[in-house]
């Protein structure tokens, strides 16, 4: 083999994929802002007991419906509870439901989508028609139905919102698997003697991660919106738990007398959803192979 000379040169220090990705992400100002807001939200949620100025469940009737003051920056609600503290504690609920619901939907969606895409045929038909049926219902309506069956509570909200978002992930995963499995390295993996499971988990799934990560980030924001919607309808977490949607629902009777009861939780939802959407868009731009 000595007669086959190697003349091609290899760069000494290759640029790692992650550094490349991070550079592109940071260059996108909107995505960076979204990322920073998200980090702040996570810090606020984790350290809520330290940061919150008051106990969010401490009713103080004389302060009922107080407008924002120096003591209560965002005012007090109908029971005299400090709204800022409640919003800070609400971040815990929203982020938890968002992340866990997406995790649930992702794990089921990846498995279903990968099975449908990889094996195709009748299995694909059955799985995807099932997903189509779920997609035919407005997701919030389906979530309401699940909540009605499961009862209120944060775990049930996670399950309901998780289940209704399975089809989105299953579809994305299936589509990506369909295109990736045409690559020769998948055929090579089979020729080597890998089992189907090894081919799916070692060779296909790592190569479909980019679109899934993007979709999951955007999915967190829609899960947060859904949680708020359930809370507003009185179907989410049970009161008196501080949750943004529930706060909106409770405050809607005072919209003329004390608009701050609605304004601030509403703003919290908007900013959070916006942050995740900006971050998701930034991730898509940074991970999109077509721009490379």
């Amino acid at each position: 083999m000595a007669d086959t000379l190697l003349v091609e040169e290899i760069p000494e220090k290759p640029v790692s994929g992650f550094v490349d990705f991070a550079k592109r992400f940071v260059r996108n100002r909107a995505a960076l802002i979204g990322f920073i807001i998200t980090v702040i939200l996570v810090i606020v949620a984790v350290f809520a007991p330290v940061i919150a100025p008051y106990d969010p469940y401490d009713a103080n009737m004389p302060m009922s419906l107080t407008k924002p003051t120096a003591q209560h920056w965002l005012g007090c609600d109908e029971l005299g509870r400090d709204i800022l503290s409640r919003i800070i504690y609400g971040a815990r609920i929203s982020l938890r439901v968002g992340v866990e619901a997406v995790a649930l939907a992702l794990s089921v969606g990846i498995v279903l989508g990968a099975l449908a895409g990889y094996f195709g045929g009748r299995l694909d038909l059955i799985i995807m028609r099932l997903m189509d049926i779920m997609l035919a219902f407005p997701s919030i309506l389906l979530a309401i139905a699940f909540m009605a069956v499961l009862g209120r509570g944060i775990e049930n909200a996670i399950i309901a919102i998780g289940i209704v978002s399975i089809p989105e992930y299953a579809r994305i995963v299936r589509g990506s698997v369909l295109s990736v499995k045409e690559n020769d390295y998948v055929t090579a993996a089979r020729a080597i003697g890998n089992s189907d499971a090894a081919i799916i988990f070692r060779h296909i799934l790592p190569n479909v991660m980019a679109p899934i990560v993007v979709r999951a980030t955007l999915g967190i924001s829609s899960a947060i919106l859904d949680t708020a919607a359930l809370g507003f309808l009185g179907l989410g977490v049970s009161p008196p738990t501080a949750e943004w949607g529930t706060m909106l629902g409770a405050g809607r009777g005072y919209v003329w007398d004390a608009p701050h009861l609605l304004t601030f939780p509403g703003l919290a939802i908007t900013v959070t959803v916006l942050a995740f959407n900006l971050m998701g868009d930034g991730l898509r731009d940074a991970l999109d192979p077509h721009l490379r």
Partner: protein, 315 residues
């Protein structure tokens, strides 16, 4: 060379396509391959040569026929037994860019077949990987890099190292050089030849470049529209092609001799669709020797001279 490593009998692959029609990609191909030789398969795009390679590998399910590899019928094997036999038959792909998993390092790619078949682990695995890299002319310090850091020729070497890892008996080379630069082509071809000698490999060499096939192969099979039309030793086929299609094909090789008088045979029309192939001889619609019998009766592959097979009514 008399011992045959494996035999293909009446291999068929039919696809059901739109409108419930049947596309006959491979339609009754039979041949055998001797231990240690290189059998070339040539033909135009869509003639079924790549599909034949994939059928032999059991990467696709044949519609009919059998592949006998060392007395075992591959087409009857399933699941675990098929997977364990895969270490004896490996494949080298055409496109070095899609044949390596972009998320795995070169080391992981080459080590994978050894791990799957539990042939080595730990230090021994490391040693084998560097040995394999050495065989194909890559340095072991390159093993921790990812495929995108390599050129096409280097990637193809990685693909060859992966195919060699399990010490297979047969390697199907599916157009291994047609995606490479001409200068790199000869390197890879010579590498394949060296490895064949060193490891007593048997190759099925699928290609459309006639010169490359001639250089590589001991025997050559010519395919047309899912059928084998001629099969002979390399010299015999290139010196005395019998089938009209082979004659036309060979006349298309450019000759580097100025003023050489060899006449080019120009075929009329295009390759017919394999969905509705012509009745009788499949080549009858384009053949310059066509007679009535050609459109009614299908010629069989028969031995004209010792070792020289041809499927034509007039030979």
């Amino acid at each position: 060379m008399a011992e045959s490593l494996f035999e293909v009998h009446d291999l068929k692959k039919h696809y059901r396509v739109q409108g419930n029609k049947i596309l006959k990609a491979v339609d009754g191909v039979s041949f055998h391959v001797f231990r240690g030789e290189t059998l070339g398969l040539v033909g135009e795009s869509g003639c079924g040569k790549s599909t034949t390679g994939r059928l032999i590998m059991r990467l696709e399910e044949p519609t009919g026929g059998s592949v006998i590899f060392e007395k075992k019928d591959l087409t009857a094997l399933r699941g675990r037994r098929l997977r364990s036999l895969r270490k004896d038959i490996q494949i080298i792909f055409q496109d070095p860019y899609s044949s390596l998993n972009p998320r795995m390092t070169i080391r992981e790619i080459i080590a994978e077949p050894l791990k799957v078949h539990k042939l080595a682990k730990g230090n021994e695995l490391e040693k084998k990987v560097s040995q394999l890299l050495d065989y194909v002319g890559l340095a072991s310090y390159q093993a921790n890099r990812y495929p995108h850091e390599f050129s096409g020729g280097q990637r193809q070497r990685v693909g060859i190292a992966r195919a060699l890892a399990t010490q297979p008996k047969l390697i199907v080379c599916d157009e291994p050089v047609s995606a490479l630069d001409v200068s790199i082509q000869s390197q890879v071809i010579n590498l394949l030849k060296d490895l064949q000698q060193e490891f007593k490999l048997t190759y099925i060499f699928i290609a459309h470049g006639l010169n490359v096939v001639k250089y590589m192969s001991d025997r050559v099979g010519v395919m047309y529209l899912g059928k084998l039309v001629e099969l002979a030793s390399s010299e015999s086929l290139y010196e005395r092609p019998l089938h009209p299609y082979t004659q036309a094909l060979l006349s298309a090789i450019p000759r580097p001799v100025p003023g050489s008088k060899k006449k080019r045979i120009i075929l009329k029309g295009d390759v017919p669709s394999p969905i509705d192939p012509p009745k009788g001889c499949r080549f009858s619609t384009r053949c310059f020797k066509v007679q009535d019998i050609c459109t009614s009766e299908e010629p069989v592959l028969k031995e004209i001279e010792p070792g020289h097979f041809c499927a034509c009514h007039f030979i």
